[in-house]
Symmetry: C2
Subunit: 244 residues, 2 copies
Amino acid sequence: MDLLFKRLAWGDRLAQEERNQIVGSVSRVQSFGPGETIVPADTRVDFSSVLLKGLSARQKVLKGGNRQITAFHLAGDFCDLHTYVLKTLPDSVVAMSECEVAAIPHAQLDKIVRDSYHLTRLLWASTLIDASIFRQWVVSIGRRSADARLAHLFCELFLRIRMIGLTKDLTYPFPATQTDLADALGMSLVHTNKTLAKLRRAGLVTFVQRTVTIHDWDKLQNLAEFNPEYLHSEVKSAISSQAV
Amino acid sequence: MDLLFKRLAWGDRLAQEERNQIVGSVSRVQSFGPGETIVPADTRVDFSSVLLKGLSARQKVLKGGNRQITAFHLAGDFCDLHTYVLKTLPDSVVAMSECEVAAIPHAQLDKIVRDSYHLTRLLWASTLIDASIFRQWVVSIGRRSADARLAHLFCELFLRIRMIGLTKDLTYPFPATQTDLADALGMSLVHTNKTLAKLRRAGLVTFVQRTVTIHDWDKLQNLAEFNPEYLHSEVKSAISSQAV
DNA sequence: CGGTGACTTGACCTCTGTCAAGAGAAGTGG
DNA sequence: CCACTTCTCTTGACAGAGGTCAAGTCACCG
């Protein structure tokens, strides 16, 4: 739950009272294995899910069987806060790794929103940051080359995972397969694999055994034209100092 | 302003009082010509803009000069409501056509949010619907073929423009160039042009003189695998009846 | 009437997708 | 403990969708 607070607080501090209010709202905690659906598409739900542990993704499958992942959720992220407002979500949330998920009933969220201007703003902000990431993905998929696309995602994940304190130097866990990666980047598995090999040979980054290691942050960032602004994390300072 | 209400209300009715509160918040109305920047990127602003008339787009330009449009804003849409919460936006908003834009100071929005639970929810919802559209674009750009991508966008625009009452049968104004279209779809101008010709020859849709005419809604929707769910418009009923 | 911006079209090329096959690693059941 | 399946990753060969270049046509406008 601390991770949720870390993400939500977003620079700010959360009062103990506010934390309690959120913790008290959780109706249950559930586990999901890799591949299991956490929130099905097009189904009315009356609670929203917070990922406490693991990696999940939002995805959409087309008729031809093509899959597109539209977002990755890290520990501390709301998977589907928007269902609180919109009631259904048109894509489904699936677990990539072993996941632990807390459910917060919409009725509870409603109470929070009615009571606390501050928390409302923070919740709203978290959905807006998500949206900002979506737009960045549109840019990546629409206009970046395969290498830059991969590089960009690795940069983004590094910062997001660092925010929740799960990086170790320039290494971080990313429990997804190359197939997942391909489906997130709008590329084929084969080409993803070859591009990965290229980045590895170039000494920029490696992704093996569900772990990403960045070997040259500056080059990677440069290739990706990565500008962390869109993540709206106040913690974005001093990346390269840590990177060196 | 009525268009804003139509979009915001979203099924619901807005009380006269609520309308007044919004109208009273507008600090000024400004005009922009095609190509002019309405909201610059990475700049702190203290007001949000509502498009009253015209078409605008949110875009990002990469170093190589490649441009990616991440969203189209129609009359009645907030262009940058998220700056109210996040303060800056990492991409810029530019006018595609002659545009009229109302500015609402963040201080006023703040007042609205503090006072009205109902309006807060509606404002929040509007940003979430935007996000839903972004995700759909990710899917389109990532996994749909060129024809399906174009078809999908034309379907989306048809519904969105119909919501604000600017369609006439299956025809609607879309004051953008093929270059804009290409940059929104993550395709090259040339290929967009050829794909457009293909759809025209197939009798699905034409886009000439800034006007889109759908000739065969069912085929178009089918090609696009278009499911209007993601627009979260309660007005989505009975499309094909009008389409026939 | 020259100039500019939008749209077309053809030729050519390359990035990326598809198909296929194989190598490890890991788990399963006899 | 060892076949056997399954999943993931890897590589090569080939094909095709879509990008790039180039040139030409309109329409509009000062």
